[in-house]
Symmetry: C2
Subunit: 376 residues, 2 copies
DNA sequence: CTGTTAGCGCTTTCAG
DNA sequence: CTGAAAGCGCTAACAG
């Protein structure tokens, strides 16, 4: 409250030059320990808060990190953001949010990225986008702007990213169904422009192949990760003659699984009795619906945290310039340094959460035991 | 891309002083129209992007708006943010997000607000918080920092806010149940620290009173707006002897209603047959659950948009200083001005969305007609 | 290790 | 209506 102190005030109070104050502020090594302590003290006493704006102007880099997100409406975005904001809370950075308009034409993505690049307001960017937008994001990286792709990444070797191992998660889910005795296992695909849609399909194929089950094209249908986009696919699969109808289904998202369960119900098929269903994501409501959904849990908050960690590591390190990228191709993008602990590519593990919808649990489910679920 | 142009570059290209360029940039009136046009032209051609940082430093006010949110995990926050970010997209402002740590002790709110006040990074703040946090927020306002309370407001006459008319929405919901013939209508209350919990209760009481139905304390139980926090309350209400057991229930949120439906199921009570249920919020899944939930829809995105509008109006207007607040008490907080269209207090209407859970619809519901729902 | 000197890019008086 | 000059609060070379 009181008044707003500036670096000059602190310098005066401490009897040093403002350059020195600036040095302790930025943890430069070349400061006498006792001086440093005294300055820290004084800053504490008057509860000095440096101006982000001024340091940004002078230093050419603001203590802001940007996060580019698709629609706030997608619940997983909120989960990732929870991790992001919690992590940011432990740093001196503030959080700037850029969101792609819900009805954005495709090249709005380019526009907003251009905007970010031209304002250079944030020091770096976390981009949560469908994988096929990677080229846009890569432009930033090429221009030397620190950026980390998050969630649905193209595994681009040249750009830092954080994702989950969707292939393995899906593999585990389908393998679980196979172990439950199913042979006719269907899959509802996600939209083609998401890398992870392919990855989930790939995990599905892999599990089938390992079990020596031939892939049946009749059992694969196209969804779009959302509830309504899966209804047609579900109808298509469940209307098959009983002899060829799937006895189990691996959905590319939980929402897709919800649609399957509802459609199954409309066909008089019981889940899991007549159809075992497994989803992917483990969004909040999946533990609550009936039957509770067996699904592959993504560590959304952790994804966000890792993204921030990675980005901040990048910011403490001289950013890889476009000019020297040829060299970087074969080397790690980052040289090891104090701030740099993790490698520039992080792939997180998923876990299979077994609940009622896959039929693995025999016992009756009661309201009070909705939450406990076995985590493999 | 190319290089980054500065005001000086533009000034040089246009053959004027940078002061003039700055004037057109900020839409000051005192500029020769032709000069203004020429400068606009040039800025266009080189796609000049002024530095937010520099103008912030020089002008003392950054073109950033802050939004303070409780947990990203609450889905309604995402909806509000959707409106906020869409609105912000139409302005030259950027969006800064402050989020209260999930496991925040209560006075962290004070801390983060202090932080915002002392950094003065954003030009103004939209505060989405439980109503009982109003005093913290009011401190900002008292210090002359533009702030708008959003969603759960204390109706503080002295501070700008945006909310929905929860009382009336609840009244409509309960009235609808009464019109359906119910007399024993229960209510599950929200947490005491939310103003809107009281408002919803108030609307409930009002509808009962109007119908000449005596309020029965046995039929009111305490929840906390969340699913798990409502299970006990639901048990309490539904375990009543059949003669006194409620035939209908107005839940303070949709999540609360979900819990009621599940508990009813565990008692062998059919919804809506044995128990009509109405929620409040209309979150995304409420149209999808079975039975589809009759509920009071809050215009979340619109709340966000109005909040931004109001805040921006405040920013174009000399902010009410603490010193002159005595005068302001009896007058509108804002003097009318170009940027100021809406009054500083906005209360939005809710709508009752009638679906299956209240028993008003007789027809069988099929998967394909999950979405269509009657909006009163 | 520390002080001095220039600015970062823009806004803002204050004179014209 | 317009230009000149003086910073906003901080960082970043340089010299010492």
């Amino acid at each position: 409250m009181a008044r707003k102190y500036t670096i000059d005030d602190i310098a005066q109070l401490a009897g040093v030059s403002k350059a020195t104050v600036s040095r302790v502020l930025n943890n430069k090594p070349d400061v006498d320990p006792s001086t440093r302590a005294r300055i820290h003290q004084i800053m504490q006493e008057v509860s000095f808060v440096p101006s982000i704006t001024a340091s940004g102007l002078a230093g050419g880099r603001n203590r802001l990190v940007g996060v580019l997100i698709p629609s706030f409406s997608w619940s997983f975005v909120g989960e990732i953001m929870r991790g992001v904001s919690e992590m940011i809370g432990h740093t001196p950075y503030e959080l700037l949010v850029y969101s792609i308009n819900d009805m954005a034409r495709d090249n709005d993505k380019g526009d907003i990225l251009d905007h970010i690049l031209s304002t250079k307001l944030p020091a770096g960017l976390l981009a949560i986008l469908p994988g096929h937008s990677a080229p846009y994001v890569e432009r930033l990286h090429t221009h030397g702007f620190p950026v980390v792709m998050v969630d649905d990444t193209a595994h681009h070797p040249n750009m830092p990213w954080v994702n989950v191992d969707s292939v393995h998660g899906s593999y585990l889910a389908v393998k679980h169904l196979i172990e439950l005795g199913h042979r006719r296992i269907a899959h509802i695909y996600g939209p083609q422009n998401f890398i992870c849609a392919h990855e989930r399909y790939q995990g599905y194929c892999q599990a089938l192949e390992e079990a020596g089950i031939a892939l049946d094209p009749l059992l694969v249908a196209q969804g779009n990760f959302e509830y309504h986009g899966a209804l047609d696919a579900a109808h298509q699969l469940l209307s098959l003659p009983a002899e060829v109808r799937p006895t189990a289904l691996f959905a590319s998202t939980d929402l897709t699984a919800y649609a399957v369960i509802d459609v199954a119900d409309s066909y008089g098929l019981r889940v899991p009795g007549d159809l075992a269903v497994v989803g992917f994501d483990d969004i909040e409501s999946s533990a609550r619906i009936r039957p509770a959904l067996t699904t592959v849990r993504q560590p959304f908050a952790e994804i966000g945290k890792c993204g921030v960690e990675l980005l901040l590591a990048l910011l403490n390190t001289p950013v890889q310039r476009a000019d020297s990228s040829l060299l970087a191709l074969s080397l790690p993008v980052l040289t090891p340094s104090e701030g740099m602990v993790r490698p520039p590519h992080i792939s997180l593990q998923t876990t299979l959460v077994v609940r009622a919808s896959c039929g693995a649990q025999r016992q009756q489910q009661s309201v009070d035991e909705i939450i406990p679920s076995k985590v493999l």
